[in-house]
Amino acid sequence: MKLKVPLGITIILVLLQVADYYFKVPVINTAAANLTVAILVMSAIAVGIGIISLTRIHVRRIVGKRPHSLESAIMLITLAIFILVGAVLGSGDPSYVYMFQNIIVPLDSAMFSLAGFFMASAAYRAFRARSREALALLVAAVIVMLGQAPIGETFWSGFPVLSQWILDVPNTGGVRALIMGIAIGMLSLTIRMLMGHEKGYLGTGA
């Protein structure tokens, strides 16, 4: 029973969404549209679950006087301020926008900028001519890097053309194949789920 009910719900909902995509049958299309709205409501509720979960973890840390409880307190105070300002004044209010532009944007951008630094050190370490294939990869990477930056055109006008060819032909061909393989893999996983062989999303107690 613990498996059959959620599995039954999964089967019905998956088949409904698939049928909605492929067929123009008003009763199915209406049911799927209503289901989609229900999903929107559930995903909004999930945000609330996240807030509760986060608060629970950090309050436990503060109450238990565990390491980094000061950071937890700062996080909870910031969370409360954002929620209060957003709920009372609205997220379109200049105060909320000011906080967003001056706290969230710089913090998020700073973290993402680490990707650039880490990519440079990873590229230095990884792009070694250990074999013919690695050498080909290295040459392609250098050509694309020079083609994507204006300085490459300054050295030779052919770099952007060659770079675009590498991206358009071998790269796109490979990515298309990967996308098709991934889609087939997702279909396989879905069929396993519908047949009850993949129970990971139900928890192993099912």
Partner: protein, 276 residues
């Protein structure tokens, strides 16, 4: 014979912190002292420009913000550039966000290009910011089926009172959708491109471009490739901005990475060829 302190070993094992420091200098210095390298226009950017140019005046164009704050330095210059183009061509702009950070950038774009957002006299007639629709791809599907499912815009105004939304019955009424994203464009192709035939342009980060290319030009009619794409578009619309200013920094950074790769290979190859 190669030893631990051999120069080849040092070349092959440079401390990452040295790379980080030099990269910081290479990115920072050109921003302070630009050298003004010319920027060519790539075919996908030209395709995007020509498509928008070719739309009849007053066409409904949707800017779909699926971007977080992290990708703003790369994607926002694209937004400013193409929104300027849309304004110049008198197209009607519907801004909608599928990421919670999106509406803020949509609002900023309206202020930068039109001078004001909700207080502008043309707000609701020529452009609108519908705000964030939670739910990911499910939200996209719902919006594509009925754009008026959103009851209030980002500023709390009733959507049914907005003139720009009146003629819309489904995504088929969109003449173009510009997807601003740092994560994926496939879901927009699935929910807007395939079922409703909406032409899509990708204004995406450079990392995501390889994921957009398989759909170009059949389902994605053009794309802007990260900051470089933004710089190219700024040139096309004659609105030089931060993207063009950043091209010198990008050039210096790419050159530095190439130099480090070559240096590392010199050390590696010489070590490998020495008799042990």
């Amino acid at each position: 014979m190669a030893t631990e302190k051999d120069w080849t070993h040092k070349l092959a094992t440079i401390d990452p912190r040295v790379i980080f420091l030099l990269l910081f200098i290479c990115v920072g210095a050109p921003l302070l002292m630009p050298f003004g390298l010319p920027v060519g226009i790539s075919p996908p950017t030209t395709s995007t420009y020509k498509f928008i140019e070719g739309l009849p005046s007053g066409s409904i164009v949707v800017s779909a913000f699926d971007m977080s704050a992290a990708v703003a330095p790369e994607c926002y210059p694209q937004v400013a550039a193409f929104t300027t183009h849309l304004k110049n061509k008198n197209h009607k702009i519907i801004e909608v966000a599928f990421d919670s950070a999106g509406p803020m950038f949509a609002d900023q774009a309206l202020k930068d290009v039109f001078g004001a957002s909700k207080d502008h006299p043309l707000y609701g007639k020529n452009f609108v910011n519908l705000g964030y629709v939670a739910g990911g791809e499910a939200a996209m599907k719902a919006f594509a089926g009925d754009p008026k499912m959103i009851q209030k815009d980002f500023y709390g105004k009733d959507v049914k009172d907005l003139e720009i939304m009146q003629p819309l019955s489904s995504a088929r009424d969109f003449k173009l959708m510009i997807v601003i994203s740092g994560s994926q464009v496939d879901n927009f192709v699935r929910q807007f491109g395939d079922p409703h035939g909406v032409p899509i342009v990708g204004a995406v980060t450079a990392v995501l471009v390889t994921r957009v290319m398989p759909y170009y030009p059949a389902k994605v009619v053009g794309y802007l490739n990260g900051l470089r794409g933004a710089a190219e578009y700024e040139q096309l619309v004659k609105r030089p901005g931060i993207a063009l200013a950043g091209m010198d920094a990008q050039s210096a950074a790419h050159l530095l990475v190439i130099i480090f790769i070559l240096v590392g290979n010199v050390g590696y190859i010489v070590r490998k060829r020495r008799p042990s």
